[in-house]
Amino acid sequence: MSILEVNHLSVSFKQYTAGLKQSHHKVISDLNVNLEAGEILAVVGASGSGKSLLAHAILGILPANASVSGVMTYEGEELTPARQKALRGKEIALVPQSVNYLDPLMKVGKQVRTSVQTGDAVQAQRRVFERFRLGREVERMYPFQLSGGMARRTLLSTAMVSGAKVIIADEPTPGLDPVVIKEALSHFREFANQGCAVMLITHDIESALQIADKIAVFYAGTTVEIAKAEDFAGQGEAIRHPYSKALWRALPQNDFVPITGSQPHPSALPPGCLFAPRCAMATPECLQAQPEMRPLRDGMVRCIHAT
């Protein structure tokens, strides 16, 4: 069963340009994702594809000049701003991208304890630290005294003790050692195995595939494909969308050959299919309207020609 559903989400930003003219930039359009209990959904795509904004939209922490439309539900009920606020950090937890989210002036043991909802906070914190191999001395340290890996495990501990049912992890691995990455990823698998739904936001398909059940591919602020992780294999024959295929083929262990061009800016989105300017399969029809997401071979795709 889905714990969290996002349907037709759009997010735009109001911006003032020269002469106080207002302009609206649509940074997310018609985006759909589903999080299921016990599953890891990896959200992959280039920077600027709207991945982090989706996380912020779910948590209700978008900046004030953002306007949001579409429907999000949590356990079948609409996720209103009031509910987002009530659930944030309790049932829906963010594992942020940056360790700067830790309070620099509070000892980390205490920070983790403040996230505990029920029961003995000290005990819960010590148990989770033990599990993540953070020694007793760490609880009395300040964030600046932690190594990068320790800081990351502290952030994970915070999410873990909160007892959240939905964990959203925003780029938790870049620049880490393969060993540390593997460890971080296995923690997410553990979350999911305990019945949590995990959304893993990353630009790194390869890491994502190691643990994810499903992959959502983002492009220019929208979902272009939802696939099973197993579909990303071989020459990418089972992959549905031309962009996802291109992403797969560009990996160093595959062809390492990129398609040309770059993702359009929110201020200059092309008409019709957002991928059309870079798509080798594009036909005049593709320019008519943005294709809808449609089911295809046990997955979803936003492309009129995908088979």
Partner: protein, 197 residues
Amino acid sequence: MQLKANDIGFRYENGPWLFRGVNLCIEPGEVVGIAGPSGRGKTTLCRILSSYETPLEGSVTFNDAPLPDKGYHPVQMVLQHPEKAVNSRWKMHSILNEGYHPDEELLEILGIEQEWLTRWPHELSGGELQRFCVARALGPNTRFLIADEMTTMLDAITQAQIWQAVMEIAQKREMGIIVVTHEAKLMQRLCDRVIEL
């Protein structure tokens, strides 16, 4: 035109040695990887090779002479976070032309679009910004390029685009490249040989 590290060693203050007795010799046109777990000083070694840091022991030579301490440095470095490497109060064309004036051809190979030049850094994505940082590092007198996790934050397509461009330019100019990355598959793809630190 070799870049050589001769028995170099480094540590901070009175801390433990990060590394000692490191020897390295890179020929023009060669692509060499530096591998090793984090904390072994890969980035510090890169900083020493590009004269941002002085080794406590040993020396770095370029063409069998000490590296020049004035003028354009023949060893240039591109790092992981482009947003930290550019002045956020400058528009892109000023950032691009800070050290020298990259020509149209270079911009085209790197996929830098004219329209991006009038933007502020925060209006570009990480991949777009990184192309500028690469262009900036590829002045006509650059003989060696150090790519320290240069494409770690980028998606696979942007990563392949940037590397394809860099390799093409390196080949044309017989420029040497030092690659630091934790991604074993990328390392394998790019490098003629890999040194363990």
